[in-house]
Symmetry: C2
Subunit: 339 residues, 2 copies
C-alpha cells in the first residue's frame, strides 16, 4: 500500500510499504477513508522523540471501512464504516471497565492511520460503528473524535470541571481548543484560554472561551492571577506537554485544584514540593477515546459541539508532508488528509 | 519558658527560650497542656532538612488553654481549652473556603508545641474549642486530631476513598496507621497496609486493615499486585514522603487511581511518564486540619475511631529527647509528652 512515512527530522514522505495484515484473531484491517495529522506527530517530526532509526509509517487518527476481520472478531464485518479511536482496547479488562481504556492490558495504537490501510487491534473493543458511510461534512468532527476532542475532553474530566467556576486551558493547539469546548460543555462559568495566536484566539472565543491570556510564563501566570482575583483557577487543562506549560498549569491553579494533563510529557519535571504546599493535584494521561466517543458523538450530532473546526486545512494524503510543514510552522492548526 | 529545642542532628534538649508573644492582633497564646512528637519532626532530627543553623523550638502538635488573645480575636477568650491544629488558617480566605485551609493566604504553623506556651496565628480561624478541659483518657485521641489523624484522613480523601474497592496504605508510621483508620471509615472494602514491623502490623489489623504486605520495593509491589488480581489498588495513601515510597505508591495503583500523598516530600522525583501511561493521579499535601477536625472529633466521640492508640509511649515533656530517640529507633510509634 501507499502510506505516510517518516524518515528523519522533518522528512515525511508518501511511499510504498507492506500492507498491514491480521496478526491476531482479534484484529481488523480498515481501509482508511479520512485521516488527519496530530500535534503529537510533531514530536517525532521535530526529532523530539529521539532519532528515527529506520523509516516507519506514522499517523493515528482516521476513519475507515472494515476490509478484513480476524477469526475472533464478533461485532464488525467487512463493509462496516467505523471511527478508529487512536488507542486500541479490549474494552473489557478492569482498566477499561474503570473507564481507562487507554491503559487496557491489551493496549495498542493505530500506526498507519495516514496510509491506505490500518491494522486495528482488539477490533471489537476498539472500533465504533458509524452505521454507514459518513456524510462529507461530518467527517472533520468524526476525525476530531478519534483523538483530539476526546483528549481535550479527558483533560477537562481529569481536572474535575463541573458547572460553575473558572477553567484555564494551557495550550492553543487542536487539543487545547478542544479543551475549551470541553470546559464550556462541562459547565465552567469562565474559561480562560492561554493563546498567543490571533486565529486560535478567535476560534477559542467562538468555542466559548470568555477570556484570552496571550502572554506566557510568569507574565501569563500573573495575568491569570489578576483575572481570578489572586485565587487561581478551579480547573486547569494542560494541553502541551513541555515543562514550561506544566509549570504554568500548576502555578495558575488555585489551592486544591487539579491539573488535568494530556500533553505527552517531554522534559517535564514535577515540582512535588509545590504540589504539596498548594494541594494542587495532577491527573491525566492518554485519553480513553473509546470510553468517550459515544458521549461526544451525541454532542456532535446534537449540534452542541463542533470540534471539526480545528481542522483548518485539507490536503490530499499524498501531500501529507506539506501538512506536517504547515502545522510545524503554525500556518495551520490541524490538517485533514483527504482520500 | 521551657521548651523542647533542637540544636543539631539528634540533639534535642528541653531549655529556656523567650516566651512567645502576641505579634498580630489575630494571635492567641496557648499554655500547652498536652503535646506529642510527629514523625515529620524526625526529618529535622535526622538532619534531612539541612543543617540546624541555630537552636530553635520544635513541635507542632498540642492541646492547650488560651492565656492571652490579640485585640482582634473574637471567638476565644482566656481560659478556653482548645485543640490546636498544627497548620493555622484564617478559615475565611478562598483557599480555606474551598477546604484547603493548609494553603490559607495567612497560613502559619505551631512552632513551640512541645514547650510551655505556643503562639497561634489567626486564632479565630485556627483554634477548635473543646468546651472545657479534656478528660485525661480523651487526650491521646485529641492529640492525634491536631495532625496525624487529619493527615491520614487527608490522604484517604485525596485518593478518593469511597465505599467499596481496595486501598493500599504505604507507610506504617502514625500517619499511615491513621490512614488505615480513614480508609476503613470511608468505606474501602479491603485495606492493605504495607508494614514491616510486627507491632504496627498488629495495630493496623486492629484498625481494620484486611491484609498486610511486609515486603517493600518491587517485592512489595508484586505482593499487592497478587492481592489485587494483577489490577492494582483503587486508592493509594502515600504516608512516608521519600522517593521509594512514592514509587511504590504509584506502582501499586490501578490505572486511573489516585495516590493521595501526605508524606512531606524529601527527594521525591515524580515519574511523569508513568503517570501519563497509567492515568494514575497524584493529589495531596499538607492536611487542612481545621477543615476535618469537627468530622473527626464526632467520629472519636461516637467511638467509631480511636486514633490516640498510635501514641504508644508517654513521657514527661522534660524527657522529649528520649521520645525522639524512641521514635527514631522505632521502639515507639508515636510519643505523647505529658505536662
Amino acid at each position: 500500500m501507499r502510506a505516510t512515512t517518516i524518515h528523519g527530522v522533518r522528512d515525511i514522505r508518501y511511499t510504498d510499504v507492506p500492507d498491514p495484515v491480521i496478526a491476531e484473531p482479534t484484529d481488523a484491517i480498515v481501509r482508511v477513508t479520512a485521516a488527519c495529522i496530530c500535534g503529537s506527530d510533531l514530536w517525532s517530526y521535530r526529532g523530539d522523540n529521539g532519532p528515527i532509526e529506520r523509516p516507519r509509517t506514522i499517523g493515528h487518527e482516521c476513519l475507515g471501512e472494515v476490509v478484513e476481520v480476524g477469526s475472533a472478531v464478533r461485532t464488525f464485518r467487512v463493509g462496516d464504516h467505523v471511527l478508529v479511536p487512536f488507542d486500541h482496547c479490549d474494552n473489557t479488562c478492569p482498566a477499561c471497565v474503570a473507564g481507562y481504556q487507554s491503559a487496557c492490558v491489551n493496549h495498542a495504537t493505530t500506526t498507519s492511520g495516514q496510509g491506505e490501510y490500518a491494522r486495528v487491534a482488539e477490533a471489537d473493543g476498539t472500533l465504533f460503528s458509524l452505521g454507514g458511510a459518513p456524510a462529507r461534512d461530518e467527517i472533520p468532527d468524526l476525525l476530531a473524535l478519534t483523538d483530539v476532542m476526546a483528549t481535550g475532553w479527558h483533560a477537562a474530566v481529569m481536572s474535575g470541571v463541573r458547572p460553575g467556576g473558572t477553567a484555564v486551558v494551557v495550550g492553543d493547539g487542536a487539543v487545547g481548543l478542544c479543551g475549551v469546548i470541553a470546559a464550556v460543555e462541562l459547565g465552567a462559568e469562565r474559561v480562560i484560554a492561554m493563546s498567543r495566536h490571533a486565529d486560535r484566539q478567535r476560534l477559542a472565543r467562538e468555542f466559548g472561551a470568555t477570556d484570552i491570556v496571550a502572554s506566557r510564563g510568569a507574565e501569563g501566570e500573573a495575568a491569570v492571577a489578576e483575572l481570578t482575583g489572586g485565587v487561581g483557577a478551579d480547573y486547569v487543562l494542560e494541553c502541551v506537554g513541555n515543562d514550561a506549560a506544566m509549570r504554568t498549569a500548576l502555578h495558575v491553579a488555585r489551592a486544591g485544584a487539579t491539573v488535568g494533563f494530556v500533553g505527552v510529557p517531554h522534559g517535564v519535571e514535577v515540582p512535588i514540593r509545590l504540589l504539596f504546599d498548594t494541594n494542587v493535584g495532577l491527573k491525566g494521561g492518554m485519553a480513553p477515546v473509546r470510553g468517550y466517543v459515544e458521549t461526544l458523538l451525541d454532542l456532535v450530532r446534537a449540534g452542541r459541539i463542533d470540534p471539526g473546526r480545528v481542522l483548518d486545512l485539507a490536503l490530499p494524503v499524498e501531500r501529507a508532508a506539506d501538512g506536517y510543514r504547515a502545522m510545524d510552522e503554525r500556518t495551520a492548526i490541524k490538517v485533514q488528509l483527504t482520500y
